[in-house]
């Protein structure tokens, strides 16, 4: 599957390797990968934990739409998006995007596109628990 949501910790590198093993050897020349990992700091505060809420159904639909757009625009061999949902701790991967293409330009550009579109369109919301126990919703994305 090009899109997957993970309610428990996942290993992005194992996910990547397993997906690439399904592609015909020699069919692609470039692989670009982005992995987002949870920080223990945000907006100047120490963060102890986070919960990722999503809109079941709409989230998958929009991630699949973003993948389809990227595949068409850059003529890619394949794409992958894996995203955590639910409770998550610092150091755990949140998101994996990967692109396979003939050449590096398409791979780099499409991998960036997947991440930026995901951050702006996919219905996920982060709620942080700070070190002092206070909870707060994350109101906006970081600049990039």
């Amino acid at each position: 599957m090009a899109v997957s949501l993970h309610p428990a910790a996942f290993d992005p590198w194992a996910t990547l390797t397993a997906h690439q093993a399904q592609l015909p050897p020699g069919s692609f020349g470039a692989t670009a990968v982005f992995v987002g990992t949870m920080r223990d700091f945000n907006e100047g505060d120490d963060v102890r934990a986070m919960t990722l809420e999503h809109y079941p159904g709409m989230t998958e639909k929009h991630l699949e739409g973003i993948v389809a757009e990227a595949r068409e625009r850059w003529g890619l061999d394949d794409c992958l998006i894996a995203h955590r949902v639910g409770p998550i701790e610092p150091g755990e991967p949140i998101v994996l995007t990967a692109v396979w293409s003939a050449h590096r330009k398409a791979a780099f550009e499409a991998c960036r596109y997947l991440m930026e579109e995901l951050k702006h369109r996919a219905p996920f919301w982060k709620r942080e628990t700070l070190k002092d126990g206070a909870d707060r919703w994350v109101e906006k994305n970081t600049e990039g």
């Binding site: 809109y55 995203h83 949140i94 996919a122 919703w137 906006k140």
Partner: protein
């Protein structure tokens, strides 16, 4: 049939519930659905709206059987 109204994240907490069921009134818009479902609160300025899981504006028509969702700016990735 009816209209399903859903609220997510900070907006769910602000409204105090995750979902409402409304009778369709035949001439609804997404903004009108908010006004009928949450009459005690103005619709937030930065709200995002989805009708049947596609983004839509407040003046977009809503039909019987539709699912209308209201939520704050998304923060995934």
């Amino acid at each position: 049939m009816s209209i399903t109204v859903r609220y997510f994240a900070s907006l769910r907490e602000r409204v105090g519930r995750a979902e409402d069921q409304l009778q369709a009134d035949g001439d609804d818009t997404a903004g009108g659905v908010w006004s009928r479902a949450v009459p005690e609160q103005a619709m937030p300025d930065r709200v995002l709206i989805a009708i049947n899981q596609e983004y839509a504006d407040a003046d977009h028509p809503v039909r019987d059987g539709d699912e209308v969702a209201f939520f704050p700016p998304v923060t995934g990735g």
